[in-house]
Symmetry: none
């Protein structure tokens, strides 16, 4: 399949600070060559300790930190509490993406909104190379969300800190229009992240289903292949770099096919948590090596 | 038909900063002569990528930027994310109007409210010549909206930044009184924008319908011609300059008649998005030339 | 039973200020040896004077202050009003933990949220060695709670003030998933405190019940022993030190067994209010001496 | 003589706001084509009304404003008081450069330092396209001057406002090393402006004299031609655009030769006050037309 | 000669942000292995364009930037103006140390004091990995200097930004006690930097002279070898990393001997400007390669 190009850092209006920090992630750590391989560990907040049952060692954040270091990830992504308690041993060796809003999975998602858990200045102070923010596109609470994101974005601009937006369709209105995994919703979410100032946007891989019929036209009858659907999402993200989310743990073959499809479509990288740290350490490292091998095929020199 | 005069810049209480910036838009770019021809590209946020299906090239904001430059528009209007990622290549050549609030079209409009996506200071920093703010007149959320607009207006005053208000009737109460396109609702919205401090107000062209019967008297029995109806709206806007919105794509003849009707009524210009960038580039440029030709008829020297 | 280790102060990323203040509590007052024995007196706010009926002397905060001093507690924990009116006589002798948010028990708990009653700077001014903050994990208001906690946490970082988080599952969504005393809810709450930056987390001891069947899998079928359940909670708290809450008054035997179970699981100490000051002074002091005796078994040198 | 190129706007690290504002001055007003023809009227502060005796009409700032408008200057440069009292009539027609520090000529210059008279925010509010700041390079007070300039520069960065630095060697130490008009001093001053963040630097044209022998080697024996000397200064200014100062009134021939020499050396334009407004209006307009004719030879398209 | 160890990053109380940024300089760019090879280009401000006569190409800061990139330096060190105008092309490839105070060489040094030219926040915004501050130890103005440094240090702590102190003995009192190059003065300056919060201290290599007799005892009769003298300075700097300054251009052999002597003494690296960029490019690159070869001998793994 034809490969689609990634946005080059020197064309997309980055301030020197954002560019230096993204360069650090894209070329000096992880697989390099302009790609991103990120290990998120915010599930303890978003889902609770339940995600660690399958691999009890992963309950200790030290496990993910060592995996990020030994697997040579581009960065680890987590909240302020873990950063303050665990990052000091890895500062310099493992780049940090500070996630600065979040919520628990306990209340229902129909009015989804994530309050702040940290600040851009916390990220500066900790030497992070980016901040992460979750926006719930389409939620009835999106007005508050946009305003909160707007302030975070302004702070990120002020400090030259790259802004990674977790762009998630959520809420009762989304559910009625095809659901959170529909192409309609994910495509819209990618564009919203671009419009609101994301430097990097994290999206889920769209999943076709019969609920697509509830999406607005022409999405309701589009019937794109998975590859084509994801490529559409990447194009909607424009000059925002795209990260594909791993989601729940799936089989190796499915995982690697999703990675290749994403990278072919012009994604800059992946952010896989449960699919890596829910595995035993040796298996996680083996899979990480396979990911590195794939990423090498997509390496490009700095622009 | 008699032409109605536009408010002269030297009579409407503008601070020097607002006046200098409006002069830049009204006389130094676009058709000039005191008119405005603005290309908005906020539909990716307001409607989603769905608006770009009819002309896939338009999904890339570079398309609209080149159209604005090559078609010699007075300005382009968009949100912070597009401004930061695309404007740097056109800074100076294409004047910028920064839209600073918005929402997606996913949740229903019955409680419509647009959260902030940027600030007046962002507009200053980017060298914009105006900010755009959407107020949903008549929405149950209008109290928050007015308070938010009030803060934006105060910041705009502080920085000498012209404030363009997208004055849209919306919400369940509007729906019961003739609907968002009724003369009743649009006329009211134009006046609200004037009352709350708009320097320029963007309104839709009212559409008569049988639902007008639900409007309060005497609107319910007014039956004005389209020309007269729009002229009434312009008069309600007082010393706020008026922009007429393009709305959904319509035929050429209809479009040009709407433009003439608006300008005759005393409008300062038009803000047409889909009616231009949903066309292929050459057709869009041809239509733009026709618009320039019309605007030349309405040119006036600076006051 | 095997004893689980407590997090050592020199490994958990503490700033010098936090470390000095925790050292003061853990080694220079109370039972020492790296343990905490804290006397809380915030029940007058949370429950009202009703809690003092069983021992009317306890209505006068002087009673608890003298108990804390004469029983050699590690610290007393209370709100700003009590601190300002009573602490001056004990400053230096009884270390202070300033509780800085709270609520009454009058409205229902389905949207639980505690507003601020003081600031970290108040704590600094009063010479406190820590601040206490209650977060209601899972409450529909948790977005506001996280944002408020985030600001408190940032202030605590700025001033080197240890942050003790009262991590309480609450609200209508918690009630539907096993309730506030379920392992699911308490385990999640402990992790949330860690993620959001608690240096110390106060948790309740989980209580198994048939409502556990409403918890998400695998909690719904876990059926851990009390000891094992609490140990799980301590592990979820990671590098946050754990305090176990006393809750309502229980019998001596139950109380002491709970203390041993907690300390064996790796807790750093206990925070017992009603179980101590609802007793007559002499009985309270006798029980305190028993607690000191137990704590001596768990003493360790500074790290 | 070979012409040296001017720094292109798209290569010199300008933010979008600075670039848009400089574009306004360099291409949309005045002679255009990337040049600057600026009329300063800060002599009333710097020298006092004495400068207006030769042409009493010039005592009224309206005189200079009309000259700037009718002579089509790129901008007028003056202090806040004149801007507030006179600019409102010309806002939009005559671009504004707000001079934000200054002093009188009454005390001696041996410890020269100019206090603030306005702020960058004043410039934003008034719709100015640049601010002007005088730094006295080599003055014993230069430490305070640098700190003050640093704050102005940071505000200019924050608001995207171009910073024009009047780089003047002054003070007793300068006098001992060849004096304020020596190549040594002016060359140094140009570099200092570059180092401290000037977007545009205003310099005097160096004048060779026997005092050059007091300059540090190799300046003491350099003996460059006036053209070569000025070219050296332009090169020391690097990516800061260079404006040459008019200084005291001189004969037409001398004036025009200085202009050509400066433009050949890579200067972006001139800032001539007394040499224009000390002439009667008609003579000033005639000279301005001659300057426009010269500037047209140096016109270049936007980069 | 025995080699003295350098302070290990994990033992010297660095916050995570400082540690991450120093790791970037010490291990990810330049010779690595815990060493620093820094190219300063602040001489245009401190000495004026006079320093560029010997190699005119060096007048253009692009020259030094390309040298830093092609010679693989750990970082370039310069003032805000050069950073804003030239760094954007090298952001990510060449780490930045922002020098934030400075002065010209025009006034005499008897009351030496350097005013601020930038801020720690500027450094954050530009993605710098450290700030540089010059303190004139022993100057009559040192009270203002210490206060200014104290504010810079506090900002650096707040943002996790490493602070590199140019510790220079200067002023009329220093001149009377052996002079600015005496062991007495340099040893004192190194300790002052440690006392005032430097993370890294830049010192000159002491030069024995007969003026040492004017130094206080026992310095007046110490007569240490150059190696021993420098080792004493490094020991006085304690847990501040030491950079040795290049000073004026000297012969190759002298230069390399100074480097070895410094590294043997426990210095972390060198900051050589004129000794490198006053050479023609090829010769500068050759010398840089020799320096890399030496640094490889001193490489150590991260601590």
């Amino acid at each position: 399949m034809a490969r689609f190009p990634r946005p080059p850092l020197n064309r997309i209006g980055l301030s020197p600070g954002k560019r230096a920090r993204l360069h650090h992630l894209l070329y000096e750590h992880g697989p390099g060559g302009g790609t991103l391989l990120i290990l998120p560990i915010d599930q303890g907040l978003e889902h609770g300790p339940v995600d660690f049952f399958v691999n009890p060692a992963a309950l200790d954040p030290q496990y993910q930190y060592e995996l990020a270091r030994d697997g040579n990830f581009s960065a680890i992504a987590l909240h302020i509490g873990l950063a303050e308690k665990y990052h000091h041993e890895f500062a310099g060796e493992v780049p940090l993406i500070l996630k600065i809003n979040g919520k628990t999975g306990i209340p229902p998602d129909n009015q989804a909104f994530s309050g702040l858990t940290g600040t851009v200045e916390d990220a500066v102070r900790l030497g992070a190379d980016a901040v992460g923010y979750t926006v719930y596109v389409g939620s009835p609470a999106q007005d508050r969300d946009f305003a909160q994101l707007s302030q975070v974005r302004a702070e990120a601009d002020r400090f030259g800190m790259p802004l990674i937006v977790w762009a998630y369709p959520r809420g009762e209105a989304v559910a009625k229009k095809g659901g959170r995994d529909s192409l309609y919703a994910i495509d819209y979410a990618a564009r919203v992240a671009l419009e609101l100032g994301a430097d990097v946007v994290k999206v889920n891989y769209p999943v076709a289903s019969e609920k697509d019929a509830d999406s607005p036209a022409p999405y309701s009858t589009l019937h794109l292949s998975p590859d084509d659907a994801f490529r559409k999402v990447v194009q909607s993200a424009g000059r925002a770099l795209v990260l594909v989310s791993g989601g729940e743990k799936v089989g190796d073959e499915d995982l690697l096919r999703k990675v290749r499809s994403s990278m072919d479509a012009g994604a800059t990288g992946i952010i896989f948590g449960r699919n890596l740290w829910q595995r035993p350490r040796e298996e996680a490292l083996r899979m990480t090596r396979e990911l590195h091998a794939i990423f090498r095929e997509y390496a490009q020199p700095p622009s």
